[in-house]
Protein backbone atom coordinates (compact mmCIF):
# COMPACT_ATOMS: atom_id res chain seq x y z
CA UNK A 1 0.00 0.00 0.00
CA UNK A 2 1.30 3.39 -0.92
CA UNK A 3 2.50 5.69 1.80
CA UNK A 4 3.60 2.97 4.22
CA UNK A 5 7.21 4.10 4.16
CA UNK A 6 8.99 5.18 1.00
CA UNK A 7 10.21 2.31 -1.14
CA UNK A 8 13.66 3.61 -2.10
CA UNK A 9 13.93 1.22 -5.02
CA UNK A 10 10.71 2.63 -6.48
CA UNK A 11 11.87 6.21 -5.96
CA UNK A 12 15.21 5.43 -7.60
CA UNK A 13 13.46 3.74 -10.50
CA UNK A 14 11.07 6.66 -10.96
CA UNK A 15 13.91 9.17 -10.93
CA UNK A 16 15.77 7.16 -13.55
CA UNK A 17 12.69 6.80 -15.75
CA UNK A 18 12.07 10.52 -15.54
CA UNK A 19 15.67 11.42 -16.36
CA UNK A 20 15.82 8.93 -19.24
CA UNK A 21 12.56 10.32 -20.63
CA UNK A 22 13.75 13.92 -20.46
CA UNK A 23 17.13 13.09 -21.95
CA UNK A 24 15.72 11.15 -24.88
CA UNK A 25 16.72 7.62 -23.84
CA UNK A 26 14.34 4.68 -23.76
CA UNK A 27 13.32 4.27 -20.08
CA UNK A 28 12.49 1.08 -18.23
CA UNK A 29 8.77 1.76 -18.68
CA UNK A 30 6.41 4.62 -19.51
CA UNK A 31 6.45 7.47 -16.99
CA UNK A 32 3.03 8.18 -15.47
CA UNK A 33 2.23 11.87 -14.89
CA UNK A 34 -1.33 12.17 -13.53
CA UNK A 35 -2.68 15.64 -12.68
CA UNK A 36 -5.48 16.59 -10.30
CA UNK A 37 -6.45 20.12 -9.28
CA UNK A 38 -7.24 21.20 -5.73
CA UNK A 39 -10.94 21.24 -6.71
CA UNK A 40 -10.80 17.60 -7.79
CA UNK A 41 -8.76 16.61 -4.72
CA UNK A 42 -11.24 18.26 -2.35
CA UNK A 43 -14.14 16.59 -4.12
CA UNK A 44 -12.43 13.22 -3.75
CA UNK A 45 -11.40 13.68 -0.13
CA UNK A 46 -14.69 15.23 0.96
CA UNK A 47 -12.88 18.40 1.98
CA UNK A 48 -14.65 21.75 1.76
CA UNK A 49 -12.96 23.49 -1.20
CA UNK A 50 -13.94 26.99 -0.07
CA UNK A 51 -12.08 26.37 3.21
CA UNK A 52 -9.15 24.51 1.63
CA UNK A 53 -8.34 27.57 -0.47
CA UNK A 54 -7.29 29.33 2.76
CA UNK A 55 -6.07 26.41 4.84
CA UNK A 56 -2.85 24.48 4.14
CA UNK A 57 -3.85 21.60 6.42
CA UNK A 58 -7.03 21.00 4.44
CA UNK A 59 -5.09 21.38 1.18
CA UNK A 60 -2.67 18.75 2.42
CA UNK A 61 -5.50 16.41 3.44
CA UNK A 62 -7.09 16.73 -0.01
CA UNK A 63 -3.81 16.34 -1.89
CA UNK A 64 -2.76 13.37 0.20
CA UNK A 65 -5.91 11.45 -0.65
CA UNK A 66 -4.95 11.67 -4.34
CA UNK A 67 -1.32 10.67 -3.76
CA UNK A 68 -2.49 7.68 -1.74
CA UNK A 69 -5.18 6.33 -4.05
CA UNK A 70 -4.14 7.10 -7.63
CA UNK A 71 -1.02 5.68 -9.23
CA UNK A 72 1.41 8.28 -10.54
CA UNK A 73 5.20 8.47 -10.78
CA UNK A 74 5.09 12.26 -10.67
CA UNK A 75 3.45 14.16 -7.84
CA UNK A 76 -0.11 14.35 -9.19
CA UNK A 77 -1.18 17.49 -7.33
CA UNK A 78 -0.37 21.18 -7.20
CA UNK A 79 -2.02 24.59 -7.16
CA UNK A 80 -1.16 28.12 -8.18
CA UNK A 81 -4.50 29.91 -8.22
CA UNK A 82 -5.14 31.04 -4.66
CA UNK A 83 -8.21 33.25 -4.28
CA UNK A 84 -6.78 35.29 -1.38
CA UNK A 85 -4.27 37.45 -3.30
CA UNK A 86 -6.79 37.98 -6.08
CA UNK A 87 -9.42 39.05 -3.56
CA UNK A 88 -7.01 41.53 -1.99
CA UNK A 89 -6.46 42.98 -5.45
CA UNK A 90 -10.18 42.94 -6.27
CA UNK A 91 -9.18 40.99 -9.37
CA UNK A 92 -11.69 40.82 -12.20
CA UNK A 93 -9.54 38.44 -14.22
CA UNK A 94 -9.38 35.57 -11.73
CA UNK A 95 -12.58 34.87 -9.82
CA UNK A 96 -14.17 32.01 -7.94
CA UNK A 97 -17.13 30.28 -9.58
CA UNK A 98 -20.07 29.19 -7.45
CA UNK A 99 -18.41 25.81 -6.87
CA UNK A 100 -15.20 27.34 -5.57
CA UNK A 101 -13.07 26.78 -8.66
CA UNK A 102 -10.92 29.82 -9.48
CA UNK A 103 -11.48 30.69 -13.14
CA UNK A 104 -10.54 33.32 -15.65
CA UNK A 105 -13.56 35.14 -17.10
CA UNK A 106 -13.38 37.01 -20.36
CA UNK A 107 -11.85 40.40 -19.65
CA UNK A 108 -10.55 43.33 -21.65
CA UNK A 109 -7.95 45.43 -19.87
CA UNK A 110 -6.39 46.97 -22.98
CA UNK A 111 -8.55 48.86 -25.45
CA UNK A 112 -8.03 48.72 -29.20
CA UNK A 113 -6.68 52.27 -29.28
CA UNK A 114 -4.03 51.46 -26.65
CA UNK A 115 -1.94 49.14 -28.79
CA UNK A 116 0.61 51.85 -29.55
CA UNK A 117 1.39 52.66 -25.96
CA UNK A 118 1.65 48.95 -25.12
CA UNK A 119 4.01 48.41 -28.05
CA UNK A 120 6.15 51.37 -26.98
CA UNK A 121 6.63 50.01 -23.46
CA UNK A 122 4.64 46.96 -22.41
CA UNK A 123 5.61 46.66 -18.75
CA UNK A 124 5.04 50.34 -18.04
CA UNK A 125 1.65 50.20 -19.75
CA UNK A 126 0.69 47.16 -17.70
CA UNK A 127 1.80 48.65 -14.38
CA UNK A 128 0.25 52.07 -15.00
CA UNK A 129 -2.93 51.28 -16.89
CA UNK A 130 -3.92 47.68 -17.39
CA UNK A 131 -3.07 46.27 -13.97
CA UNK A 132 -5.44 48.64 -12.10
CA UNK A 133 -8.15 47.80 -14.61
CA UNK A 134 -7.70 44.09 -13.97
CA UNK A 135 -7.44 44.71 -10.21
CA UNK A 136 -9.62 47.68 -9.21
CA UNK A 137 -8.38 47.70 -5.59
CA UNK A 138 -5.20 49.10 -7.15
CA UNK A 139 -7.10 51.86 -8.88
CA UNK A 140 -6.59 54.34 -6.08
CA UNK A 141 -4.06 56.87 -4.71
CA UNK A 142 -0.38 55.86 -4.70
CA UNK A 143 -0.20 55.28 -0.96
CA UNK A 144 -3.15 52.89 -0.82
CA UNK A 145 -2.05 51.27 -4.01
CA UNK A 146 1.37 50.36 -2.62
CA UNK A 147 -0.20 48.91 0.51
CA UNK A 148 -2.70 46.81 -1.49
CA UNK A 149 0.04 45.45 -3.75
CA UNK A 150 2.19 44.69 -0.73
CA UNK A 151 -0.62 42.76 0.95
CA UNK A 152 -1.48 40.85 -2.21
CA UNK A 153 2.13 39.93 -2.81
CA UNK A 154 2.59 38.75 0.76
CA UNK A 155 -0.58 36.70 0.53
CA UNK A 156 0.59 35.15 -2.72
CA UNK A 157 3.94 34.25 -1.15
CA UNK A 158 2.24 32.72 1.88
CA UNK A 159 0.05 30.40 -0.17
CA UNK A 160 2.58 29.50 -2.83
CA UNK A 161 5.27 28.68 -0.27
CA UNK A 162 2.74 26.84 1.86
CA UNK A 163 1.60 24.80 -1.14
CA UNK A 164 5.17 24.09 -2.16
CA UNK A 165 5.91 22.82 1.34
CA UNK A 166 2.84 20.55 1.30
CA UNK A 167 3.82 19.19 -2.12
CA UNK A 168 7.41 18.59 -0.99
CA UNK A 169 6.20 16.75 2.09
CA UNK A 170 3.84 14.52 0.10
CA UNK A 171 6.42 13.82 -2.59
CA UNK A 172 8.86 12.67 0.08
CA UNK A 173 6.22 10.64 1.93
CA UNK A 174 4.98 8.79 -1.16
CA UNK A 175 8.25 8.56 -3.06
CA UNK A 176 7.02 10.74 -5.93
CA UNK A 177 9.23 12.66 -8.32
CA UNK A 178 8.51 16.02 -9.96
CA UNK A 179 6.51 16.04 -13.17
CA UNK A 180 7.47 18.19 -16.12
CA UNK A 181 6.29 21.49 -14.69
CA UNK A 182 8.86 22.71 -12.20
CA UNK A 183 9.72 26.26 -13.23
CA UNK A 184 8.06 29.51 -14.20
CA UNK A 185 4.65 29.96 -15.77
CA UNK A 186 4.94 31.90 -19.02
CA UNK A 187 2.90 32.29 -22.17
CA UNK A 188 3.35 32.60 -25.89
CA UNK A 189 3.43 36.36 -26.55
CA UNK A 190 0.24 36.08 -28.61
CA UNK A 191 -1.55 34.34 -25.72
CA UNK A 192 -0.27 36.92 -23.24
CA UNK A 193 -1.80 39.61 -25.41
CA UNK A 194 -5.00 37.65 -25.91
CA UNK A 195 -5.71 36.22 -22.48
CA UNK A 196 -5.71 39.14 -20.10
CA UNK A 197 -5.13 42.24 -22.18
CA UNK A 198 -7.43 42.09 -25.20
CA UNK A 199 -9.59 39.07 -24.42
CA UNK A 200 -10.55 36.11 -26.56
CA UNK A 201 -13.25 37.90 -28.51
CA UNK A 202 -11.33 41.14 -29.15
CA UNK A 203 -8.08 39.48 -30.27
CA UNK A 204 -9.99 37.60 -32.95
CA UNK A 205 -11.50 40.86 -34.12
CA UNK A 206 -8.03 42.49 -33.97
CA UNK A 207 -6.71 39.83 -36.33
CA UNK A 208 -9.15 41.15 -38.93
CA UNK A 209 -9.12 44.87 -38.17
CA UNK A 210 -5.57 45.64 -36.96
CA UNK A 211 -3.34 42.65 -37.58
CA UNK A 212 -0.22 44.80 -37.93
CA UNK A 213 -0.71 46.00 -34.35
CA UNK A 214 -1.11 42.42 -33.15
CA UNK A 215 2.22 41.52 -34.75
CA UNK A 216 4.01 44.48 -33.20
CA UNK A 217 2.44 43.80 -29.80
CA UNK A 218 3.63 40.18 -29.87
CA UNK A 219 7.14 41.36 -30.68
CA UNK A 220 7.02 43.88 -27.84
CA UNK A 221 5.84 41.15 -25.47
CA UNK A 222 8.69 38.76 -26.28
CA UNK A 223 11.36 40.43 -24.10
CA UNK A 224 8.82 40.54 -21.25
CA UNK A 225 8.28 36.79 -21.52
CA UNK A 226 11.99 36.07 -21.89
CA UNK A 227 12.80 38.06 -18.78
CA UNK A 228 10.09 36.14 -16.96
CA UNK A 229 11.34 32.82 -18.25
CA UNK A 230 14.98 33.13 -17.25
CA UNK A 231 15.31 34.12 -13.58
CA UNK A 232 18.53 35.59 -12.12
CA UNK A 233 19.24 32.19 -10.58
CA UNK A 234 18.22 29.25 -12.74
CA UNK A 235 17.28 26.20 -10.66
CA UNK A 236 18.93 22.96 -11.85
CA UNK A 237 16.51 20.97 -13.95
CA UNK A 238 14.15 23.95 -14.26
CA UNK A 239 11.32 23.26 -16.66
CA UNK A 240 9.08 26.24 -17.36
CA UNK A 241 5.45 25.80 -18.28
CA UNK A 242 3.74 27.31 -21.31
CA UNK A 243 0.00 26.59 -21.62
CA UNK A 244 -0.83 27.36 -25.26
CA UNK A 245 -4.31 28.78 -25.76
CA UNK A 246 -5.36 30.61 -28.91
CA UNK A 247 -3.72 28.70 -31.76
CA UNK A 248 -6.43 26.05 -32.31
CA UNK A 249 -9.03 28.77 -32.71
CA UNK A 250 -7.35 30.68 -35.52
CA UNK A 251 -6.55 29.80 -39.10
CA UNK A 252 -3.17 28.56 -40.27
CA UNK A 253 -2.24 31.83 -41.95
CA UNK A 254 -2.78 33.79 -38.75
CA UNK A 255 -0.88 31.15 -36.76
CA UNK A 256 2.10 31.37 -39.11
CA UNK A 257 2.21 35.15 -39.13
CA UNK A 258 1.22 36.10 -35.61
CA UNK A 259 1.22 33.20 -33.16
CA UNK A 260 4.23 31.11 -34.10
CA UNK A 261 7.23 33.44 -34.70
CA UNK A 262 7.44 34.91 -31.21
CA UNK A 263 6.64 31.58 -29.55
CA UNK A 264 9.49 29.95 -31.43
CA UNK A 265 11.83 32.79 -30.46
CA UNK A 266 10.77 32.45 -26.84
CA UNK A 267 11.51 28.72 -26.67
CA UNK A 268 14.79 29.17 -28.53
CA UNK A 269 15.76 31.99 -26.17
CA UNK A 270 15.10 29.80 -23.14
CA UNK A 271 17.00 26.90 -24.65
CA UNK A 272 20.01 29.15 -25.28
CA UNK A 273 19.91 30.25 -21.66
CA UNK A 274 19.83 26.62 -20.54
CA UNK A 275 16.18 26.48 -19.49
CA UNK A 276 13.78 23.75 -20.61
CA UNK A 277 10.03 24.10 -20.97
CA UNK A 278 6.87 22.06 -21.25
CA UNK A 279 4.39 23.32 -23.79
CA UNK A 280 0.81 22.27 -23.15
CA UNK A 281 -0.87 22.28 -26.55
CA UNK A 282 -4.49 22.75 -25.49
CA UNK A 283 -7.26 21.61 -27.81
CA UNK A 284 -6.05 20.15 -31.12
CA UNK A 285 -2.57 20.98 -32.44
CA UNK A 286 -2.41 18.22 -35.08
CA UNK A 287 -2.24 20.74 -37.91
CA UNK A 288 0.62 22.54 -36.16
CA UNK A 289 2.63 19.45 -35.18
CA UNK A 290 5.32 20.09 -37.77
CA UNK A 291 5.97 23.49 -36.25
CA UNK A 292 6.40 21.98 -32.80
CA UNK A 293 8.85 19.50 -34.31
CA UNK A 294 11.17 22.42 -35.10
CA UNK A 295 11.56 23.43 -31.49
CA UNK A 296 14.73 22.59 -29.57
CA UNK A 297 14.79 19.16 -27.91
CA UNK A 298 14.58 20.79 -24.48
CA UNK A 299 10.91 21.47 -25.22
CA UNK A 300 8.64 18.80 -23.72
CA UNK A 301 5.19 18.58 -25.28
CA UNK A 302 1.82 17.87 -23.72
CA UNK A 303 -1.31 17.36 -25.78
CA UNK A 304 -5.02 17.60 -25.02
CA UNK A 305 -6.69 16.38 -28.23
CA UNK A 306 -5.47 15.51 -31.68
CA UNK A 307 -4.32 12.70 -33.92
CA UNK A 308 -1.77 11.02 -31.67
CA UNK A 309 -0.30 8.93 -34.51
CA UNK A 310 0.34 11.97 -36.69
CA UNK A 311 1.76 13.88 -33.75
CA UNK A 312 3.99 10.98 -32.73
CA UNK A 313 5.37 10.82 -36.27
CA UNK A 314 6.18 14.53 -36.41
CA UNK A 315 6.57 16.38 -33.12
CA UNK A 316 7.04 13.10 -31.26
CA UNK A 317 10.06 12.03 -33.26
CA UNK A 318 12.60 14.07 -31.34
CA UNK A 319 10.52 15.40 -28.46
CA UNK A 320 9.12 13.89 -25.30
CA UNK A 321 5.32 13.85 -25.73
CA UNK A 322 2.35 12.87 -23.60
CA UNK A 323 -1.33 13.54 -22.98
CA UNK A 324 -4.35 12.63 -25.15
CA UNK A 325 -6.03 10.38 -22.57
CA UNK A 326 -9.49 11.74 -21.74
CA UNK A 327 -10.37 10.57 -18.21
CA UNK A 328 -14.05 11.47 -18.65
CA UNK A 329 -14.49 8.37 -20.84
CA UNK A 330 -14.53 6.45 -17.56
CA UNK A 331 -18.06 7.78 -17.03
CA UNK A 332 -19.49 6.12 -20.13
CA UNK A 333 -17.25 3.16 -20.97
CA UNK A 334 -16.46 -0.07 -19.15
CA UNK A 335 -13.21 -0.59 -17.24
CA UNK A 336 -11.90 -2.87 -19.99
CA UNK A 337 -12.77 -0.31 -22.68
CA UNK A 338 -10.97 2.42 -20.75
CA UNK A 339 -7.88 0.26 -20.36
CA UNK A 340 -8.11 -0.57 -24.07
CA UNK A 341 -8.04 3.13 -24.85
CA UNK A 342 -4.95 3.59 -22.69
CA UNK A 343 -3.39 0.59 -24.41
CA UNK A 344 -4.23 2.02 -27.84
CA UNK A 345 -2.47 5.24 -26.92
CA UNK A 346 0.57 3.45 -25.52
CA UNK A 347 0.82 1.17 -28.58
CA UNK A 348 0.87 4.18 -30.89
CA UNK A 349 3.01 6.59 -28.91
CA UNK A 350 5.39 4.57 -26.73
CA UNK A 351 7.47 2.66 -29.31
CA UNK A 352 10.91 4.18 -29.54
CA UNK A 353 10.51 6.04 -26.28
CA UNK A 354 9.84 9.79 -26.05
CA UNK A 355 6.43 9.19 -24.44
CA UNK A 356 4.90 9.65 -21.00
CA UNK A 357 1.35 8.82 -19.94
CA UNK A 358 -0.81 11.80 -18.94
CA UNK A 359 -4.43 12.90 -19.03
CA UNK A 360 -5.52 15.27 -21.77
CA UNK A 361 -5.68 17.93 -19.07
CA UNK A 362 -5.61 18.17 -15.28
CA UNK A 363 -8.77 16.82 -13.68
CA UNK A 364 -10.75 19.74 -12.30
CA UNK A 365 -13.84 17.96 -11.03
CA UNK A 366 -13.79 14.49 -9.48
CA UNK A 367 -17.38 13.95 -10.64
CA UNK A 368 -16.16 14.12 -14.25
CA UNK A 369 -14.48 10.71 -13.81
CA UNK A 370 -15.35 7.25 -12.51
CA UNK A 371 -12.79 6.78 -9.77
CA UNK A 372 -12.36 2.97 -9.71
CA UNK A 373 -12.04 2.79 -13.49
CA UNK A 374 -9.52 5.65 -13.56
CA UNK A 375 -7.51 3.99 -10.80
CA UNK A 376 -7.53 0.80 -12.85
CA UNK A 377 -6.24 2.61 -15.94
CA UNK A 378 -3.36 4.20 -14.05
CA UNK A 379 -2.44 0.89 -12.40
CA UNK A 380 -2.53 -0.84 -15.77
CA UNK A 381 -0.13 1.70 -17.30
CA UNK A 382 2.24 1.40 -14.36
CA UNK A 383 2.73 -2.37 -14.82
CA UNK A 384 2.12 -3.03 -18.52
CA UNK A 385 4.41 -0.62 -20.32
CA UNK A 386 7.87 -2.10 -19.89
CA UNK A 387 10.13 -1.63 -22.86
Amino acid sequence: MRGMGVDMATLKERTQIRTDSIEGRIPKRVFVFARFSLEAACGYAGVDLAKAHYDMELTEKAFESICKDFYSDALPVGNIRFPAPYQILGARNWVMGSNGAVQHPEIVTMEADEYDEYIANPYDAIVEKFLPRACPELDTDPANRSLVLGKAYRSFKKYSEGTRAVCGKLAAKYGLVPGFITGELIEAPFDFLADQLRGFKEINIDLRRRADKVKAACEATLPLMLKRAVPPVIRPGQINYIPLHLAPYIKMGDFEKYFWPTLEELVNGMDKAGVACTLFAEEDWTRYAEYLARLPKSAILMFENGDCAKIKATAGKDHLIGGFFDPTITLTRSKEECIDEAKRLVDICAPGGNFYFAFDKGIMDIKSVDVPKLQAVLEWVSVNTNY
Binding site: A91, Y123, L131, A134, L185, D195
Partner: protein
Protein backbone atom coordinates in the same frame (compact mmCIF):
# COMPACT_ATOMS: atom_id res chain seq x y z
CA UNK B 1 16.96 44.03 -22.43
CA UNK B 2 13.56 45.12 -21.17
CA UNK B 3 13.43 48.86 -20.53
CA UNK B 4 10.97 50.13 -17.97
CA UNK B 5 10.83 52.80 -15.30
CA UNK B 6 9.29 50.21 -13.01
CA UNK B 7 12.13 47.72 -13.14
CA UNK B 8 15.06 48.11 -10.80
CA UNK B 9 18.06 49.93 -12.20
CA UNK B 10 20.71 48.45 -9.94
CA UNK B 11 23.43 50.91 -10.95
CA UNK B 12 21.18 53.87 -10.28
CA UNK B 13 20.22 52.38 -6.90
CA UNK B 14 23.86 52.15 -5.77
CA UNK B 15 24.50 55.67 -7.03
CA UNK B 16 21.76 56.78 -4.66
CA UNK B 17 23.31 54.70 -1.87
CA UNK B 18 27.10 55.15 -2.04
CA UNK B 19 27.31 54.15 1.62
CA UNK B 20 26.84 50.49 0.63
CA UNK B 21 30.21 49.10 -0.41
CA UNK B 22 32.34 45.98 -0.58
CA UNK B 23 30.87 42.60 0.40
CA UNK B 24 27.71 44.21 1.72
CA UNK B 25 27.12 45.63 -1.76
CA UNK B 26 27.19 42.13 -3.27
CA UNK B 27 24.70 40.83 -0.73
CA UNK B 28 22.37 43.79 -1.18
CA UNK B 29 22.62 43.55 -4.98
CA UNK B 30 21.62 39.90 -4.93
CA UNK B 31 18.74 40.61 -2.59
CA UNK B 32 17.21 43.60 -4.36
CA UNK B 33 17.55 41.99 -7.79
CA UNK B 34 15.87 38.82 -6.57
CA UNK B 35 12.98 40.74 -5.04
CA UNK B 36 12.66 42.94 -8.12
CA UNK B 37 12.41 39.85 -10.28
CA UNK B 38 9.88 38.29 -7.91
CA UNK B 39 7.65 41.36 -7.96
CA UNK B 40 7.94 41.56 -11.75
CA UNK B 41 6.96 37.89 -11.91
CA UNK B 42 4.03 38.43 -9.60
CA UNK B 43 2.65 41.25 -11.71
CA UNK B 44 3.32 39.75 -15.11
CA UNK B 45 2.64 36.13 -14.42
CA UNK B 46 0.35 35.74 -11.48
CA UNK B 47 -1.93 38.59 -12.26
CA UNK B 48 -1.74 38.51 -16.03
CA UNK B 49 -1.57 34.84 -16.90
Amino acid sequence: MLASKYLLDTDAYFERHPEITGEAKELVKKEIEAEDFDMFSFVVTYVFM
